[in-house]
């Protein structure tokens, strides 16, 4: 009897010290306390390329149709008719901050904390600027200096920085990062899935991005634009299609491995080549690579017809008597819509077009706008070979095109702008930004009943609805500074 009581008491005493092993029990056995910076860089680059979600909504549904690369009939392609779907409009904002921004800021913090080599930090800073410039170009004032620091600095409601301040800092960042880079290979090595650790390519990318950002300032600070463009040119730009900043994708296994646009094309058969884009591609050897007839896949230029923007099915019937859009061209599904297609961040062709503009405006880069223009067109046609064999354009065809469409110095900026617009097809964020800056090509807005913009092409996309409730004060301050959170408000560098 006593034995039993003592046994029980002994058992109870064991319980008293019984948080034995609890500390270890609550350490997640399936996760690590830290991982290598290279693992994070790979992820950050993938997240920059993005997923189906935002590529569908922000890049294609909005930007590509507003920019009249594509035209669509169904109403949920809201960019085609300038209607407002808040979730679609904010999709890049909604995905970039919790995904891309978080990874990049966390990586940068780790590199600094752990004292990794300067060039790894510089590479990360360059990628970081790419991420933020895409955000600010699309939305205007956005969280920047305080963004992505929920854990690092405990900032849960970041303030919105003015686009002017963000641009100043991004240019400074690019300048410092480029200065920190020489040649050779970074410790990221092959984890750098964009440039395989090649520091000279990162340096060129930094300067080329600096050139892109400098020209964005043209309407608000022409002198600053010229100064930064000069600095970028002197720093060393991309010099061939080997320098293109792009990410190669694969057909899986996960969504993130795939080209987000490609995933959209797999799922959504609605986009047609816009009548506007089709007009520009006449006589262009790129046409049969980029477009194919929906009904039978024909790429014979004679079979390729562009769909006007701003039509619903009733409008289509009224206008053409057609019941569907099978007779129209869509993105060529045998070449450019693959889930393993490359995703371009910035191309050498764009750089040449920007140089042409610099030459035209300020006599920079040797002052020969035509040479740069021709180099740009050539590079833009040649780079399609990254889509595979079927997309190789012969030198003869390129030469013929340039002969048939010679550079006209009286119309230089428009020609450059139009070619830039063609060359950035599918990187619609960039198309939209450059169009707002240059006004080229001259697009005729549509005016669908009930549109949100009074028949004008939107000038930005709108913030995330969740900011209205999750970050109300900073959201309100951003609107007070920038203007109403609507599609027609202009961002800082897009002055009237």
């Amino acid at each position: 009897m006593k034995k039993i009581v003592f046994t029980i008491l002994a058992v109870l005493l064991v319980f008293v010290s019984c948080d034995e092993g609890f500390d270890e029990l609550n350490v997640n056995p399936t996760k690590a306390a830290q991982i290598a910076p290279g693992n994070k860089l790979t992820k950050a680059i993938l997240q920059t390329s993005g997923g189906r979600y935002e590529n569908w909504r922000a890049n294609l549904i909005y930007c590509s149709t507003m920019m009249q690369h594509f035209a669509t009939i169904p109403g949920y392609w809201t960019g085609d008719k300038y209607s407002w779907n808040r979730g679609y409009a904010s999709s890049l904002f909604d995905r970039y901050y919790p995904d891309t921004v978080k990874t990049v800021e966390d990586l940068l913090f780790q590199l600094n904390e752990e004292g990794h080599p300067e060039e790894m930090i510089a590479v990360t800073r360059i990628l970081r600027v790419f991420v933020y410039h895409r955000l600010t170009d699309l939305y205007g004032d956005v969280p920047y200096s305080e963004a992505g620091k929920g854990v690092i600095e405990g900032i849960t409601m970041p303030r919105y920085d003015s686009q002017e301040a963000i641009y100043a800092d991004m240019l400074k960042e690019l300048e410092e990062a480029a200065a920190a880079l020489g040649t050779g290979t970074s410790e990221f090595g092959a984890a750098d899935v964009m440039f395989n650790g090649d520091l000279s390519k990162w340096k060129k990318f930094a300067n080329s991005m600096m050139l892109r950002l400098s020209l964005r300032l043209i309407k608000v600070d022409a002198a600053g634009a010229q100064a930064w463009a000069t600095k970028a040119i002197n720093g060393g730009l991309m010099t061939s299609n080997d320098d293109i900043a792009y990410l190669a994708h694969t057909n899986g296994p996960d969504g993130i491995n795939k080209n987000g646009n490609g995933e959209v094309f797999s799922a959504d058969g609605s986009p047609r080549i816009s009548e506007t884009f089709m007009g520009f591609l006449q006589g262009d050897p790129r046409l049969p690579i980029l477009a194919a007839r929906r009904s039978d896949g024909s790429t014979n230029p004679a079979d390729l017809k562009g769909l006007p923007n701003g039509l619903d099915s009733a409008g289509l019937l009224d206008l053409t008597g057609e019941e569907n859009t099978d007779a129209y061209a869509e993105p060529n599904r045998s070449i450019i819509t693959g889930e393993d297609a490359p995703m371009f961040f910035q191309t050498y062709a764009e750089v040449e077009f920007m140089l042409a503009e610099c030459a035209e405006r300020w006599g920079l880069a040797g002052g020969d706008a035509e040479a740069h223009y021709n180099a740009g067109v050539t590079a833009a046609m040649k780079m399609l070979s990254l889509y595979g064999e079927a997309a190789v354009i012969s030198d003869t065809d390129i030469a013929d095109y340039l002969v048939a469409n010679p550079f006209d110095s009286n119309n230089a900026l428009e020609m450059i702008g139009n070619q830039y617009w063609i060359a950035t097809f599918l990187n619609e964020y960039e198309t939209f930004a450059n169009w707002r800056r240059t006004g080229f090509p001259v697009l005729t807005p549509v005016n669908f009943p009930g549109n949100e913009t009074n028949g004008t092409i939107p000038r930005r996309l709108t913030y995330s609805g969740s900011e209205e409730t999750a970050n109300p004060e900073n959201y309100a301050a951003a609107i007070a500074a920038q203007g109403p959170d609507v599609l027609t408000t202009r961002v800082w560098w897009d002055a009237n």
Partner: protein, 1037 residues
């Protein structure tokens, strides 16, 4: 260990064989109420000194085998004085018991399985008998409690027959954590995991843990509402405890056989919807002209239905006429067959009961079904004088096929059926598949699924094998000292397959997932206790003990995207395969003690103390405590025994108590940021921040939260016990609640774990029951319960930011906590109004006023604060009739059905102005002036689409009064049955969910959230409500 168990089982088997080997005499008789000479059904007849006994039948008759001619029989009945009568060779003993309200020695099972007289309890506990729960069979037995207990709020929601329910006792205790009660089955906690639920993006409800329970096995359910009752179960009981006692073989002479058979039919309740039927498919007031047009514009903004021939989605032209109710055509009559066979037996040393049940359900959704087979074995045995052993084992095998997809459109057939234009006949959507095996499209929006494709080609199934077992042993060291040890486990493996087939419009190559979850919860508990009278006046009952709870969960998921061979649905037949593995483990260790002192059997004082250690609050190097000590005290005072009260008051008890409960985090691994490798790209592994919630900022200093509760109550019996009244008031406050506070996603995270949430619930409960008529042939028993719970969010985080619990895909409507507001308010965009309350419009000059989307406002309460139930039971001779009316008031619901059917021109409010235009009066935002404009018929869609962004326009009151259930039963006279050696038989017809006496919400069931999580109040095309009709048969041999 297993060998020992086998030996024990063998021993039980031998005991069973020894039945009927002793010489026995049979004593028969009737137990009646001395006041009216009516038979007392369910009175206990026990042979003194043994556990052998029987209950009287409906008429008060009993029959008991007595092995000793000198035995003494004890006759007892709740609320009556007991009597003891020596057998002395008699074979007929009739007993008339005296009613005695002061003798309320009803025994209930309280925390840790301790049996207590109700009069000693200083807190609220409500017991419901098994028959009441299983009267009208629900596929989820817990739904049988709805409307029956004050303070228990059950929401069934539109999750399908195999879906989950939400059970909340005395309001939501935690801002974002688990709020459902702890289920304890035969003393062992039972897991109540929800195996997946629909989100705002769609999905289905995988059912919850408690739904596995077989209603035919339930002896009774006791609801321990307050913290005082639950203090001894620790933190997991801070939401209240539902204790389920399953049937045993006790009191069954020889081997008894019981058969229950129930058949229930579900018929979709089309009386809920009232959509327009006079305008057909189209846009801008015109019918579609082409197939493409019909595919692009599925909405009902066409012209007036005129019988003309109009092309539809499939290119076929059909009469432009109303085709009848599509819900009736698409949904089928659901059926549920439940059959139980139970064997039971006992002798003076041991008892057993075994039951087997088969439940076969065909849901109203075509091709959706559920099958559940349950086997249950209870063994109890007295080994020698002092040792009592009890073994419970349940094995449940459950399989569901095609749980209906809910919420957002992908895969959700409900969405397409409900939104079909009046001239569309959903039967024309059949068979849902093209000759090439792809989905037969009904809409150019790829997410709007053909409902037949969704129902017949999305192959989803799940199977769960579950074992719940417990073993307990009690050793009575002395007649006042005992030791009790118990170990139990609830473990299951659930395998599910979800397929998005090849050829689905939104996923042309398809995808599938194989998912396996292994879950186990193990509890062990050891206590030592005393029960002792100190002198004539004082008695003591006390115990101390220790307990350990371990929960483990492991998920394995294989996902394959893009089928290679069309039609072969195997995860390896895909071009992209990914895998996912998750693992959770947590433990709680506890020490506890209780002391009860009673004085003169009319004053009881009880105190408890407990300390819990939580692994979820532990981490290497953590400096804040991972444990918390808490306690309770309560008092019960039998006024009617202690004081001279007026004659009319037969019994009165005053009770009051205070308790504190502490709890740890629900989830493990939330204290530190962790990283994971997510995959690889071009041969390079990649990863980043990634715990169980990579978007949550962890909190390293996490400590326990507390729930403090004060309760006071009065329990009275008046007018010779014909009327009883039980009142309770409680006030409970949760502090240091562990909450993920919403952060701006631009911080990189969507929430931050915080430890300062505070919520209060104050409430009032009333239970009145009366027996106005009680004669030989006729009796009427009526019971009404009411509870009002007022919740208030007191604090969230340092900045008192708000917390989001749920939202719509558009984010225009959300469920959020706001400081100073009730739990889970509906928050969304509102109209802009001028000073006179007129709605402000823009775009007036262009002829189509657009309502201006105003600021986010609190638009309603997601949880109804007032619930009530009214049960009536009539008996006339062998017939009995009972019905239950239940009601909820004060809640609201945001109806996506009404929003989307308004945008689509199907809602009746869109009829106005279709011919001559809609007159809109309001204030023009540009001029500030009043205007009256006429919206042309072709612009109505545009006018309404702007209103679609205003959540306020689609908030509806969720108030209802409903005839929840009704049953009419007939007990076949025993004189007739004796010939067939049947001891009792009854047959009932039953109905539930029959109709509303009051309903404010248009077109929807006011209880139709698509999930059972904390964010209640969002409706989005769940399964429509069904009326249930059935027949039930019970036979005992």
């Amino acid at each position: 260990m297993t060998k020992k168990v086998l030996k024990l089982l063998l021993a039980f088997g031998l005991l069973l064989v020894t039945y009927g080997m002793q010489a026995q005499i049979t004593v028969k008789g009737t137990v009646t109420n001395a006041a009216d000479n009516m038979g007392l059904p369910g009175a206990n007849v026990v042979i003194k000194g043994t556990s052998q006994g029987v209950s009287t039948d409906f008429d008060g008759n009993y029959s008991i085998e007595v092995s000793d001619a000198n035995a003494i029989l004890q006759f007892s009945y709740v609320g009556f004085s007991s009597q003891e009568i020596a057998v002395n060779g008699q074979t007929t003993i009739n007993v008339a018991l005296q009613e005695d309200a002061s003798q309320l020695d009803e025994v209930v099972v309280t925390a840790l399985g301790i049996r207590k007289e109700t009069k000693a309890l200083g807190y609220s506990i409500t017991k419901v008998e098994g028959e009441q729960v299983s009267l009208v069979k629900e596929t989820n037995a817990i739904n049988g409690l709805q409307g029956k207990i004050a303070g228990v709020n059950i929401t069934q929601n539109s999750t399908g027959a195999a879906g989950s329910s939400r059970v909340i006792i005395r309001g939501n205790t935690s801002l974002t954590g688990e709020n459902q009660p702890l289920y304890v089955i035969d003393g062992i906690p039972m897991g109540n995991d929800v195996s997946g639920s629909a989100s705002l993006w769609g999905g289905n409800d995988g059912g919850d843990g408690v739904s596995s329970l077989n209603p035919d096995d339930i002896e009774s359910m006791s609801v321990l509402k307050g913290g005082a009752a639950a203090a001894l179960y620790g933190s997991r009981a801070s939401n209240g405890v539902i204790m389920i006692t399953t049937k045993t073989g006790k009191g069954q002479k020889g081997i008894g056989v019981e058969i229950n058979s129930t058949t229930v039919f579900d018929v979709v309740d089309t009386s809920l919807q009232d959509f327009q039927t006079s305008y057909g498919q189209g846009s801008f007031g015109a019918a579609p002209l082409t197939q493409e047009d019909a595919l692009n514009n599925s909405s009902s903004w066409g012209s007036r239905l005129d019988g003309s021939s109009v092309v539809q989605f499939d290119g076929v032209s059909r009469p432009y006429s109303y085709t009848g109710n599509n819900l009736k055509k698409f949904y089928r009559t659901g059926t549920t067959f439940t059959n139980t066979v139970a064997l039971s037996g006992s002798n003076d040393k041991s008892n057993f009961r075994f039951s087997a049940t088969d439940l076969s359900n065909q849901d109203i959704m075509p091709n959706a079904s559920l099958n559940r087979k349950s086997f249950s074995l209870n063994l109890g045995s007295q080994l020698g004088e002092k040792l009592t052993l009890t073994v419970n084992a349940k094995y449940i095998r459950e399989g569901a096929k095609n749980r209906p997809r809910l919420s957002d459109a992908p895969g959700n057939g409900n969405f397409s059926v409900m939104n079909a234009a009046p001239n569309i006949n959903v039967l024309d959507y059949r068979p849902g598949i093209n000759e090439d095996g792809t989905e037969f499209r009904i809409n150019s929006n790829i997410f709007n699924q053909n409902p037949y494709w969704a129902a017949f080609h999305f192959n989803n199934m799940d199977a769960r094998n579950r074992f719940i077992g417990s073993f307990s042993v009690r050793y009575d060291v002395l007649d006042w000292l005992y030791i009790n040890a118990r170990v139990g486990t609830d473990t299951y493996a659930r395998k599910s397959t979800a397929t998005e087939p090849w050829g689905t419009a939104y996923k042309p190559l398809g995808a599938m997932e194989e998912w396996e979850r292994r879950y186990s919860q193990t509890d062990s508990d050891l206590m030592i206790g005393i029960d002792r009278d100190i002198n004539d006046q004082f008695a003591v009952s006390a115990f101390v003990g220790g307990a350990q709870n371990t929960q483990e969960r492991e998920n394995l998921k294989l996902r394959g995207e893009d089928f290679v061979v069309a039609g072969l649905e195997h995860v390896q037949n895909t071009s992209n395969q990914t895998l996912e593995h998750q693992y959770f483990k947590k433990k709680i260790n506890s020490l506890y003690g209780s002391l009860e002192v009673s004085y003169n059997d009319y004053l009881y004082l009880t105190g408890t103390v407990r300390n819990d250690w939580f692994s979820t609050l532990s981490f290497p190097g953590k400096t804040t405590p991972n444990n918390d000590l808490y306690y309770s005290g309560n008092l019960s005072f039998i006024l009617s025994d202690a004081l001279e009260l007026p004659e009319v008051i037969r019994f009165a008890k005053f009770r009051t108590g205070y308790s504190k409960v502490a709890g740890g985090a629900d989830n493990p691994y939330e204290l530190a940021l962790v990283y994971g490798i997510d995959g690889s790209h071009l041969g390079q592994p990649f990863g980043g921040v990634g715990g169980s919630d990579p978007n949550q900022i962890p909190l390293g200093d996490l400590v326990a939260y507390n729930v403090d509760e004060f309760e006071v109550g009065l329990d009275t019996r008046l007018l010779d016990g014909k009327l009883s009244l039980d009142l309770a008031y409680y006030s409970k406050e949760t502090t240091n609640d562990i909450v993920p506070v919403g952060t701006s996603s631009t911080s990189g995270y969507s929430s931050a774990l915080a430890n300062i949430g505070k919520i209060s619930n104050k409430g009032f409960e009333m239970l009145i029951s009366a027996r106005p008529v009680s004669t030989d042939d006729f009796s009427w028993q009526t019971t009404y319960n009411l509870s009002i719970n007022n919740s208030e969010v007191v604090a969230t985080d340092a900045a008192n930011g708000d917390i989001q619990l749920g939202r719509t895909t558009s984010n225009l409507t959300q469920i959020r906590h706001f400081v100073g507001q009730p739990y889970g308010t509906i928050y969304g965009t509102s109209y802009v109004r001028d000073d006179n309350g007129n709605i402000v419009y823009e775009n007036v000059a262009n002829g189509v006023p657009h309502a201006v989307r105003g600021e986010y406002k609190i638009l309603g309460e997601g949880v109804p604060p007032t619930t009530m139930g009214w049960t009536n039971e009539f008996r006339y001779k062998n017939f009995n009739l009972s019905f239950l009316i239940d009601a909820k008031f004060g809640g609201q619901i945001f109806s996506s059905t009404n929003r989307i059917t308004t945008l689509g021109g199907l809602h009746k409010q869109t009829l106005e102005g279709r011919e001559n235009g809609l007159t809109v009066t309001g204030t023009d935002v540009d001029t500030g002036q009043q205007f009256t404009a006429t919206v042309a018929p072709e612009d109505l869609a545009e006018y309404w689409s702007n209103i679609g962004d205003i959540s306020e326009a689609f908030i509806q009151d969720a108030d209802y009064i409903k005839l929840r259930q009704i049953s009419l039963g007939y007990t076949i006279p025993s004189t007739f049955l004796e010939k067939f050696s049947i001891s009792s038989a009854s047959v009932s017809v039953i109905g539930s969910n029959l109709f509303y006496l009051l309903r404010d919400a248009e077109n929807i069931d006011p209880e139709s959230s698509y999930q059972v999580g904390n964010g209640q109040g969002l409706e989005y095309f769940g399964l429509p409500s069904a009326r249930r009709y059935g027949v039930s048969l019970n036979v005992k041999f």
